[in-house]
Amino acid sequence: MENKKMMHTLPVEAYTSQKWFDMEMKYLFSTTWQFAGFVEDVPNPGDYISVQAGLNNIFILKGRDNRLRAFHNICRHRGTQLLRAVGKAQKAITCPYHDWTYDLEGKLMSVPKKDEEFPELKGKELHKCNLNLHEASVDIFKGMLFVHPEKNAPSIMEFFGEVEPYLGPHIVEDLVEYSEKEEEAFYTKEIKANWKIVVENYIDHYHLSHLHEGTLDMYDHSKAEFGWKGPHYWFYEPLMPDYLADVDNAVPYPLIKSVPREQIGAYVPWLFPNIGLGENESAWSTFHTIPLAPDRTLVVIRSKMENASSWEYTKQMTKSSLSSVWQKYGNKGKYEGDAKTDPMASGDFMEEDIYACEQQQKSLYSPMFSVGAQAKRGEYAIWRFQEEVKKWMQNHGAKI
């Protein structure tokens, strides 16, 4: 093997080259359970969505039996990605291009001009002609939809079961989504960095007290606990004692009721390969990292909060603004400066992280670039994550 420049255990080119990006699409994002939204995105029988998961576009449909079905969004005729549910009570899936129609089990039901145009199908039962939709898998974990391109995928609980006890105690199903604009995610941002840079920033404990010294300081980083369960990372840290002592007043939004008092804190796990959760005292969020190109990543954050009236929210925000806790913690830039133009003066931890990620991506192309050292505890996760990516891809056929 040639002597490649390395990050920790992956080569630098894994963060810069199209070849690596293509391999990840094939061997990582098309072989894992992929986040597809929230359960409430497909609320009623007949509702459907389609999502891109690695190389696959997957169509999720809820039947009248309230069970979700997943198919590859590919009409078996000419492969068009046009599927939609139609008919009274949405009992059929059709491709509007030539009106080939399938039932809810993906079986081909009708083909216009079948006998004249397709003599090889004449007299045959269509569902036995090997032209049924390709089935995929869909399941639910913590109120989130996940899809897997294989029909007989390993069960979602085999994949996430081991890490589940380390996630927040939040009962996600009781929370309601919060967004500034209807039908839009709480936060969407394209970051000019490789998706792994974004993940590594998310799971890096070492940076919390430094990059975010004025923004995430309401949590007690010194008491953080974290570790790995299979390919998944888990993380927990408590509130700072004075924040906790006044949390009923200080918390900016109503406290999430399903979190017992003694378990309040920030749970910030990373579910392999590309979905992080942010589960804290007043919000529960998904941090979906979608690779767009070797150096471009779309981050979509969807956020849920306690199901309380707007009056409750207003009341809480007023109480919170009066709390002395916020004179001490949060919302302060690392450096003084123009909050609008300098991320380091923004007082916004997302701005800080994005800035750090993009600046790291830039340096990857420098001939002088190297990783000089790795924090033993605080950055172990970065090495481990790269190991997990490598292992997973190798186990699924990548020659790397």
Partner: protein, 361 residues
């Protein structure tokens, strides 16, 4: 078709009754002592049944009763038996069987079962009515104890509060698995209980199309790999299955077991004294079928030992393959359309329609 693996030889074993529990005024559960050397022979899957052989009024009678015990728990094998109106055997069992009695029993069998595995992650919808709870109870216990994360949603129909078999044990199961086990009772003729202090929650009505729809909408599946098990009287099964079909539940996810009698086909014009050629246990025998007699009865009366147990067209133990001729089945609650298409018949229900029929067991 997969079946008749271990009971091909029609063998039975004397087992001792070690417990008789009166579950309701019309139903008992009976536990048997299983000697160590029979553990393997009597290994079973949740949902299967035992066939009991009695000699009542000098006639050998066999009846199949579902196991309500779970193969994954350390409990004795146990069956549930509800009185059937004018039923010879069920009343005999309810009235006469006591601890210490010995009963001839054939090893467990049946195609209605849940093959539970630890790593499964499923939602099991269980529909039962009356004594149909027997195999369903076994399935519920087995799944909850084996599959660490699967969900069990049980919809259970009865006449009234007092006719609910295993009521207490079901409540205990609910306490044990509060997050994964949903139990909803529906009563067709509930007793008003103004004086009763303990509130018993139930829905009014039967297990029928409307209530099945209600149940599924009220309790949508969490794990998306769903299976549907139905056990009860014929009408309840038909209604439930119909309801499931109407909401597009695929047939391969539905499993059912008929309790009690189904509809019998009347007015079959069978051929008198048709020639019967049967291959069983490696031998081929030839005889004639007297008017009105089934293939199975003909063979038994001829001195043969064909496999069978329920003789009611349910259990499929007596299934054989028709290789020549035509027959009509009075009832068929055991074989799927696909089985029938492949030529399988239930010999206990089959009357000849041609002058000659040939079957292979």
């Amino acid at each position: 078709m997969e079946q008749k693996s271990k009971t091909m030889n029609n063998k039975s074993f004397p087992l001792k009754v070690i417990d008789v529990k009166h579950e309701t005024k019309d139903a008992v559960s009976i536990s048997f002592d299983l000697p160590y050397e029979l553990y393997e022979t009597f290994d079973y899957k949740a949902g299967q049944h035992l066939t009991l052989i009695f000699n009542i009024n000098d006639k050998e009678v066999r009846r199949s009763y579902s196991l309500c015990s779970s193969p994954v728990l350390e409990e004795n094998i146990r069956i549930g038996v509800k009185r059937v109106k004018n039923g010879l055997v069920s009343n005999y069992i309810n009235d006469k069987i006591k601890i210490g009695d010995t009963i001839e029993i054939m090893p467990p069998e049946g195609r209605f079962y849940a093959d539970s595995k630890k790593e499964f992650y499923k939602t099991y919808y269980l529909f039962s009515a009356g004594s149909g709870i027997t195999p369903i109870f076994s399935i519920a216990k087995t799944v909850l104890n084996t599959e660490e994360r699967s969900f069990v949603y049980l919809f259970f129909g009865n006449r009234d509060q007092e006719s609910i078999i295993f009521k207490k044990e079901l409540d205990e199961l609910k306490e044990q698995f509060p997050e994964r086990f949903i139990l909803v009772h529906t009563l067709s003729k509930p007793k008003t209980s103004w004086f009763s202090k303990n509130e018993f929650e139930f829905r009014k009505g039967r297990v029928d199309e409307e209530s099945v729809n209600w149940f599924i909408n009220e309790y949508p599946p969490y794990a998306q790999n769903t299976e549907y098990y139905i056990c009860g009287p014929g009408k309840m099964i038909e209604d439930t299955e119909e309801a499931l079909h109407k909401i597009d539940v695929p047939q391969n996810r539905i499993f059912k077991e008929y309790f009690g009698s189904g509809k019998e086909k009347k007015g079959i014009e069978s051929v008198d004294n048709a020639v019967l050629i049967a291959t069983l246990n490696g031998d081929t025998v030839e005889t004639t079928i007297p008017k009105g007699k089934t293939i199975l009865r003909t063979l038994i009366d001829f001195g043969e030992n064909p496999p069978y147990s329920c003789e009611g067209g349910v259990c499929s133990t007596c299934a054989c393959k028709l290789v020549k001729g035509k027959v009509a089945m009075k009832k068929n609650l055991g074989l799927s359309d696909e089985d029938v298409e492949k030529g399988y018949i239930l010999s206990c229900q089959s009357l000849p329609l041609t002058d000659e029929v040939e079957v292979e067991y």
